[in-house]
C-alpha cells in the first residue's frame, strides 16, 4: 500500500507506505498532524495534493475498504450494542440470519462478553471500545484506522486493552493504522512506527530501530521515558591535551569536553561542538573498558519502585539517570555509559551522526 500526501491541512509532503497485515503506529505530540493524516486516509478530509492508494489502486470512495475506531468511541447512544455493531450491515440490507452470524463472529473477535441488548451509556469504557472494535470489524475492511482509541481510559485498563488490540490484530490479520500521542503505546504496539512533528514525518521504522537509532534530536527526546539526556560537548582540538570525558575541570561550562578515547569512538570526523545523547537507563555505576565516564553532582533522587531516578549535573548541564542504588543528594560520583549506547547529533541540523 502506498499513500502520498501533499499539503492537506496540517500535513506537508508526507509520503509513506504501510504493509498489508501490519500494525502501523503514528505517534507524535498533539497538533503534529497525526490525526489529520488518519482522517485523510479515512477520506473524512481531502488532500490538497497527492493521493492515497489502497492495495495498489487509487482509492476514491474508500468507505468499503476502511473502518475507523474513534477516541470517544463514537457509538450511537440510542442503539443497543447489537444494533451498533449491525448498523453497517443494515445499511447494506444484509439478510437477518447473516447479520446475526456476522455480529456473533465480530463479537468473538473483539473479545466482547456483554449483554448485547444494553446500550452504550450502560457499558464501561473498555466494553464500549470493544463494541467499537466489533463495529469496525463487521464490514471486513482491508484497513482499520484507530484514532487514540485508548486515551480516554484509565491507565490500568489502557495497558490491558493495548495487549488486546495487539491480539485482535493477530487474530484478524487486518492492517491497522493506529494513532497515539503516547510513545510507550507506540513502542509496545507497533510493528513499525512513524514519528511525526509539525505535519512532517521525522522517522519511520521498527520500535527497536526508532528507540536505538533515533534519526534526529526530536525523535531521540520524544521516544523514551524519562527522555534522553542531551549534553553539549566540545570536541578535542587536534593539538590539544588528551583527557577523558570529565577529568577536565568544568572550566568551560556548559559544554562538555570530550576526551580522545571517546572521540575515537565517533565514526565521523568533526570539530567544534556536538550534541551527545545518553538514555537515563544506559547510565550506571559500573565501570568498564568501553564505557564513557561522567562526573555527576547529584541534586535529587526519587524512588520509583524498580529503581532510583536521579537528577544530577554534568559539566553544568542537567541529566537524569535510572540507577539501581540510591545516592545521597549533594554527592559527586562517576557514572558510566557504554560507548555503543551513546548517540551523537549535529547541533546545527539536529540530525543523527553515525
Amino acid at each position: 500500500m502506498t499513500r502520498r500526501f501533499g499539503s492537506g491541512g496540517g500535513i506537508s509532503d508526507v509520503s509513506l507506505s504501510v504493509e498489508s497485515g501490519e500494525l502501523f503506529v503514528l505517534v507524535g505530540p498533539s497538533g503534529c498532524g497525526k490525526s489529520t493524516l488518519l482522517r485523510l486516509i479515512a477520506g473524512l478530509e481531502y488532500p490538497e495534493s497527492g493521493e492515497i492508494r489502497i492495495g495498489g489502486q487509487s482509492a476514491g470512495d474508500r468507505r468499503d475498504l476502511i473502518a475507523m475506531v474513534f477516541q470517544n468511541h463514537a457509538l450511537y447512544p440510542h442503539m443497543s450494542a447489537f444494533d451498533n455493531i449491525a448498523f453497517p450491515l443494515r445499511l447494506r440490507h444484509t439478510p437477518k440470519p447473516e447479520i446475526e452470524r456476522k455480529v456473533a463472529e465480530a463479537v468473538g473477535l473483539a473479545a466482547l462478553q456483554i449483554d448485547l441488548a444494553r446500550r452504550p451509556p450502560e457499558l464501561s469504557g473498555g466494553e464500549r471500545q470493544r463494541v467499537a472494535l466489533a463495529r469496525a470489524l463487521i464490514r471486513q475492511p482491508r484497513v482499520i484506522l484507530m484514532d487514540e482509541p485508548l486515551s480516554s481510559l484509565d491507565a490500568q485498563l489502557r495497558g490491558r486493552l493495548r495487549l488486546e488490540v495487539k491480539e485482535f490484530q493477530r487474530r484478524t490479520g487486518r492492517t491497522i493504522i493506529y494513532v497515539t500521542h503516547d510513545q510507550l503505546e507506540a513502542l509496545t504496539l507497533g510493528d513499525r512506527i512513524a514519528v511525526m512533528r509539525a505535519g512532517a514525518l521525522e522517522q519511520v521504522g521498527s520500535p527497536t530501530d526508532v528507540y536505538q537509532h533515533p534519526a534526529n534530536l526530536f525523535v531521540a527526546t520524544f521516544i523514551g521515558q524519562p527522555p534522553m539526556n542531551i549534553l553539549r560537548c566540545r570536541l578535542p582540538q587536534p593539538s590539544g591535551p588528551t583527557q577523558t570525558a570529565s577529568e577536565h575541570a568544568p572550566a568551560l561550562p556548559p559544554a562538555l569536553e570530550i576526551g580522545d578515547k571517546l572521540a575515537s569512538a565517533m565514526p565521523f570526523g568533526l570539530s567544534g561542538e556536538v550534541l551527545l545523547g545518553i538514555r537515563p537507563e544506559d547510565l550506571s555505576y559500573n565501570s568498564s573498558s568501553d564505557a564513557a565516564a561522567f562526573e555527576a553532582s547529584f541534586r535529587r533522587v526519587e524512588f520509583i519502585g524498580s529503581g532510583f531516578l536521579a537528577y544530577a549535573t554534568v559539566a553544568g548541564q542537567e541529566i537524569t539517570a535510572m540507577l539501581d542504588q540510591p545516592v545521597e543528594p549533594g554527592r559527586t560520583r562517576w557514572l558510566y555509559a557504554p560507548l555503543r549506547a551513546l548517540h551523537f547529533f549535529d547541533p546545527a541540523t539536529e540530525r543523527r551522526l553515525d
Binding site: F70, A74, Y76, P88, R92, P121
Partner: protein
C-alpha cells in the same frame, strides 16, 4: 467547575436542602406553583358547570352550589362547533408537523455549519422580534393569490402558524443537535450511510425529546392563535374566533364551556407525546 461543586446521584436533593425548614419552603413553593396553574382551570370548569348567576355572585364563591350542563349542551348544539373543532385540529396538526420538520432541519444545519449558525440565529431572532400582525395585510394578499385565503381546508392559516412556530421549534432542538459529537456522524459516514440517513438514523432519534417538545409547543401555539385565525378564516372559523364571539356576547358560562372543550385536544396531544418526551431524555445521555 470550582471546588464547591458537589457531585451527587441524579434526583437526590443536596444535603443542605434536607433541613426541615428547607423542606417546608419547598412544599410551600411547590404548592404555590401548582395553585397558580390549577386555580384558573378550576374556575373555568366551575363557570362552565354552574348557572351564570353564580359566576357573578358577590362575595365570590369558591365552591359550586348548583350544577348545570346547560352551557355545555348549548355549546354542543352549536352547528359550527364540529367544523371549527375539525378545522382547528387540522390546522394545528399540519402547522405542528411542518414547523417541527422545517425547524428541526434548520436547527441541524445551524448546529453543523459554522457559517449558518450566525445567520440562522439572526433570522430566528428577527422573526421572533417582528410583530407578525404588522405584516398581516401583505400576508393576506399572498394567501389570496395562492387561493388559500379563508379556505375550507385552513391550509393558508396552517402555513402562517408553521412560519410563526419555526423559531420556537428550531431553538428547542438546536441545543440537542449541537451536543451530538460529530464523530458519531463520521462513524456513520464511514459505515456507508448517506447524509439523509445519518440525520434520520443517528441525529433524529437522539433529539426525540426535543422534537416531541417542539410538536407540543407548535401545536398549542396554533391551537390558541387568534389574530390570524380571525383575519384569515373569516367564514371557515377555527375555535379561538368562535370563543371570541361568546366572550363578546358576554355569555361567561358558554365561553367557559367552549374553552373547556378546547382544553381536551391540547391535553390529548401532550399525553400522547409523553412517552417520547421521556424516552428521548434517557437516550440523550452520552458516555
Amino acid at each position: 467547575m470550582n471546588g464547591s461543586t458537589v457531585i451527587r446521584p441524579a434526583g437526590q436533593p443536596r444535603a443542605d436542602l434536607k433541613s426541615p425548614w428547607a423542606a417546608l419552603a419547598r412544599i410551600i413553593i411547590e404548592a404555590l406553583v401548582v395553585l397558580g396553574a390549577a386555580v384558573p382551570v378550576y374556575l373555568l370548569i366551575k363557570q362552565a358547570l354552574t348557572p351564570e348567576l353564580e359566576s357573578f355572585a358577590w362575595p365570590p364563591r369558591w365552591l359550586p352550589h348548583a350544577l348545570t350542563l346547560a352551557h355545555l349542551e348549548g355549546v354542543f348544539e352549536l352547528a359550527e362547533l364540529r367544523s371549527a373543532l375539525i378545522l382547528s385540529v387540522a390546522v394545528a396538526a399540519v402547522a405542528a408537523v411542518a414547523a417541527t420538520a422545517l425547524g428541526t432541519m434548520l436547527a441541524y444545519a445551524m448546529a453543523r455549519r459554522e457559517s449558518l449558525r450566525q445567520a440562522g440565529m439572526a433570522g430566528v431572532t428577527a422573526a421572533r422580534l417582528l410583530p407578525m400582525i404588522a405584516v398581516a395585510l401583505p400576508l393576506t394578499i399572498v394567501l389570496i393569490n395562492l387561493g388559500l385565503y379563508d379556505s375550507a381546508s385552513g391550509m393558508g392559516l396552517a402555513l402562517i402558524h408553521a412560519a410563526l412556530a419555526i423559531p420556537t421549534t428550531a431553538l428547542t432542538t438546536y441545543g440537542v443537535f449541537a451536543a451530538i459529537p460529530p464523530e458519531q456522524e463520521e462513524a456513520a459516514f464511514l459505515d456507508g450511510a448517506s447524509a439523509l440517513r445519518i440525520f434520520l438514523a443517528v441525529d433524529v432519534p437522539q433529539a426525540k425529546a426535543a422534537i416531541a417538545a417542539s410538536l407540543v409547543l407548535s401545536f398549542i401555539m396554533s391551537w390558541d392563535e387568534f389574530a390570524f385565525a380571525l383575519l384569515i378564516q373569516v367564514t371557515h372559523r377555527t375555535l379561538p374566533p368562535l370563543l371570541y364571539y361568546y366572550t363578546v356576547f358576554g355569555d361567561v358560562g358558554s365561553a367557559s364551556a367552549l374553552a373547556l372543550v378546547m382544553l381536551v385536544p391540547a391535553l390529548a396531544v401532550i399525553i400522547a407525546l409523553r412517552p417520547m418526551l421521556k424516552s428521548g431524555l434517557v437516550a440523550g445521555t452520552q458516555r
